[in-house]
């Protein structure tokens, strides 16, 4: 006998999943849905809206999370993605594999937010500035407390809000 839940249209299940996901627990919630069965997993993987809640990235994490992060970011394609960061005070502490994934998705980011009360590494900011941030609407660079006397410019055609302390 087919489970009654299989009678629900895929679009409706996707809508229910979207409403089920909470911004505060969205990673856990999406993975929960995708672990139930292959049918639910397929729906989850083909519904980018489920993977575009605000994402906080720790660029300094030593643990190898780049592959998992890459898979997550890929599933959110092609939608804009809000990203915030844990404090990054020294560029030397940044995990290059994680940074590569963030830089790859940067053109699709709707927000890039560094903690406003913390120092942010200038070289890291420069790496971001090299990307074409076409979807970026909000940016907070935190406190940039160093200088190399070179101009810092961003291409941000959709930017609405920005903040930084230099």
């Amino acid at each position: 006998m087919v489970s009654p839940i299989r009678t629900l249209p895929v679009e409706l299940l996707a809508k229910i999943f979207e409403l089920f996901i909470d911004d505060n627990t969205h990673i856990r919630d999406v993975y929960l849905i995708s672990r139930v069965c292959s049918h639910w997993r397929q729906i989850a993987h083909s519904t980018p809206q489920l993977w575009t809640r605000p994402l906080t990235v720790d660029l300094c994490k030593e643990k190898d999370i780049a592959d998992g992060l890459k898979a997550w970011l890929a599933r959110s394609t092609p939608l804009p993605l809000p990203i915030s960061f844990m404090p990054v005070t020294q560029a030397g502490h940044v995990n290059p594999a994680i940074l590569d994934e963030v830089l790859t998705v940067a053109p699709r980011s709707s927000s890039l937010l560094f903690p406003p009360m913390y120092d942010t590494s200038l070289p890291l900011v420069r790496r971001l500035a090299q990307r074409s941030l076409d979807s970026l609407e909000e940016m907070d660079l935190g406190i940039i407390d160093e200088t190399d006397n070179l101009p810092l410019a961003f291409i941000v055609p959709r930017l609405r809000n920005s903040a930084s302390s230099i």
Partner: protein, 179 residues
């Protein structure tokens, strides 16, 4: 009052402010204007519409087993209000920490009826029925999500992942384990 006609040709006289919780019906009424003409609901049976407009003691939603959930902390203003149409769309995304008890008096329906109600809610565009509580554990005070095993059991879903896929999924989730 608004006259609704279900797919099995039953007629329901319902208060306008109640039926307008359905975006579909609200739009219909706005398009038609003041009229005595009945509104046909070809995708909703009378048994389902009865559930949707059933009187209750307060703002409620249907849980995954088809029982109505009660928000015990909410003041009841109109005992005659139907359970499903009561909540605003803005509330559907809220976390559900305000639910403090199960009301044993609420109606239990089987899963087929539950999913018929969900289909009707989708057709009528009543988002409050499709909220996160649907997959939550109503017995837990903090309203945490059910584990996958429990969801499978509840909905009679077979775990069709191979051991290799299970291992892959576990590995895939590792990056976010401390979140």
């Amino acid at each position: 009052m608004v006259l609704l006609v279900t797919s099995d040709n039953e007629q329901f006289q319902t208060e306008k402010d109640i039926v307008e919780r359905s975006v579909l019906i609200k739009n219909m009424l706005e398009d038609v204007g003041e009229s005595d003409q009945p509104i046909p609901l070809p995708n909703v049976s009378s048994s389902v519409l009865k559930k949707v407009t059933q009187p209750s003691t307060g703002p409620t939603e249907i849980d995954v087993r088809g029982r109505y959930l009660s928000t015990a902390s909410t003041t009841v203003e109109s005992p005659s209000r139907p359970p499903i149409l009561e909540q605003s769309q803005d509330e559907t995304r809220k976390r559900t920490t305000d639910i403090s008890e199960w009301d044993q008096k609420f109606i239990t329906v089987d899963q087929e009826m539950l999913f018929e109600i969900i289909l009707a809610a989708n057709y009528l565009d009543i988002k409050s029925l499709l909220c996160r509580r649907w997959l939550q554990d109503g017995s837990q005070h903090d309203q945490g999500a059910r584990p996958p095993e429990e969801i499978r059991k509840l909905f009679n879903i077979v775990n069709d992942f191979t051991p290799e896929e299970e291992a892959q999924i576990k590995k895939e989730n590792e990056w976010a384990e401390d979140r």
